[in-house]
Symmetry: C3
Subunit: 247 residues, 3 copies
């Protein structure tokens, strides 16, 4: 069996929105410890990993299951979440469906056909980073949206005291500068200067669920993948984005 | 003469919006008791009846008149209503126009050409129902919007203790369940179990003007028309919707 | 050098939005007294003049410069202004760029390529008016939007006690009436009755930056240009709009 209840359907909607922006489908691995998933985007540039420990749920009961979800349909259903709705996710093993139930003034139950995605597990590579930037999510998101006016990719630079996002256009340029003293920065770690270039469209997809008050961790190296971590309502999201190697 | 003043132009806008969604034109029957109108939608599936007793108006003076209105033009004008605008409706018999006047910081007067719709009266049939559901308008509206994700029609079921809205899609399903104890329900009356199917597009049009705090009455039978009643700022709206007979 | 700091980027955004609606490009004349500019719209129907005295800035340092700006690009950048962002405008003489810097949780710097618009100065004609209407900006703006439902031009009429905006359509009409006692009116000056007709699209462009709380001054004559003045966050805007001469 699998039955899990979340306090806020609207918060979980952000998690599903973010997954649906990068991925077409995902296989949730559920067991008594919680829910896990990992997948590459269709063009194999970005990897998303999700971890929801059972403590993030109001109620949680689960045996071991693989639940294959078509994310566009799941997203449309989650977009129906209203402000005070609680969310129940419940596996209907007989009909091979996931029941998505909004509880509030009454009970609104969607039942979603499942996909067979077993065996489609993605291994998350372990990478070592020396530069770690902990930054307010909205400041990062706005700087990326700024850069989007100017170019389709950015260079991220980190030094011991500074984090920069740069975009160069044909006519106009953009640079966001965050120093250790800026309000946006929680901390900047790392002894060296590093830089990598990334596709902006993916970056914007990755921060889609981020809103004011969320804290984002960025792990940066030289021409290395960007690792990004943040959590939404107890759901831990991790992303790896391949660097853009400039000729 | 006909001159009537309403406290809130913005509330009356919702009434006009709802009428304009279902109907192309309407003939208002005004007399000293108030304003009445009834009409079928162009495909004769839904009937709308409006009753505004004179008590709903701040000021009201009227002889007997038939005022034929092109609803798309009236709706566009009413969409110009601002938060604190009062509304004056005034018949200009000489020019055969309805003056639609917004009063607030100044006076903004639209004058709307009238249609000759005399003789186009619609009789409202008297139907008898045993099952009556009184439900919060926003809960009903959201459940119908949910169902719209899944199918283009719904089955409504009522039993002595429960009211259900069901939609079946090719892949996914939806059911909204409201029991007597749910916050959304004011009351459920009726001894029998009944069910009827309805076109969802019409249902969504019928609840268009409903917002939080409005209470909706549903009268349900077996393969019978749905009767829906609610009032907006003292304007009583009643709808009849033909059932969808499934082969 | 030229370096100027404004308290609120979001307020200045409205100034740039308004300029960009009427004009393609503008040449800012900066000197130690402040920033000035004047230009005709491409079809030579409307003239816009901008005056930002140095007192409107939080910090201000300037030699004499002409700064030629492509307004569509400037507008897109200014649209990135967030609620608490301060704005720094800084001339980079070496690279011939204007740095547009948003300061808040960090520093987001756009650098905008400049145009050579020297010699493109527009002289603002001095006109004499007897009728001056001082009106709340939102009341004027809403009345113009109302009129836009009905026609593509309006007649403005002023008398010693009243100001009217009239639009005539094929079927329907509109009149906004403001008398000296109405809340919308600060004052109506002028002994005579005057009237002029104007293109509505231009009028709507001219009031684009106006919001609740702004006060607009209208100078009206008989078949004379309309002069409109208002200020946004210390930036003084003046417009002249050629009348529509009706055959």
């Amino acid at each position: 069996m699998f039955k899990a209840k979340l306090e806020s359907a609207k918060e979980f909607k952000k998690v599903v929105d973010t997954m649906a922006t990068l991925l077409d489908e995902i296989c949730l691995q559920v067991n008594e410890e919680g829910v896990r998933a990992a997948a590459m985007d269709p063009s194999h540039v970005a990897l998303l990993s999700l971890n929801i420990p059972r403590i993030a749920f109001e109620d949680y009961q689960a045996d071991e299951h693989e639940i294959g979800i078509e994310l566009e349909a799941f997203k449309k259903i989650m977009n129906r979440a209203k402000a005070k709705d609680k969310l129940i996710l419940e596996l209907d093993e007989e009909r091979n469906r996931l029941n998505v139930i909004f509880e509030n003034q009454g009970k609104r139950k969607f039942s979603l056909s499942l996909l067979d995605l077993s065996g489609a597990t993605t291994k998350v590579p372990e990478l070592e980073y020396h530069n770690v930037i902990t930054i307010k999510g909205d400041a990062l998101k706005e700087a990326l949206k700024d850069a989007d006016l100017i170019s389709d990719h950015v260079i991220m630079r980190a030094s011991p005291y500074e984090f920069k996002i740069e975009a160069k256009g044909d006519l106009n340029d953009f640079t966001a500068e965050f120093s250790s003293e800026d309000d946006a920065i929680i901390s900047i770690e790392g002894e060296e200067e590093v830089k990598s270039a990334f596709n902006l469209e993916y970056l914007l997809d990755m921060v889609k669920g981020v809103s004011k008050g969320d804290i984002v961790k960025l792990y940066l190296g030289n021409d290395m993948p960007l690792k990004m971590e943040y959590s939404l309502a107890g759901c831990e999201l991790m992303f790896l984005l391949a660097p853009r190697i400039e000729e």
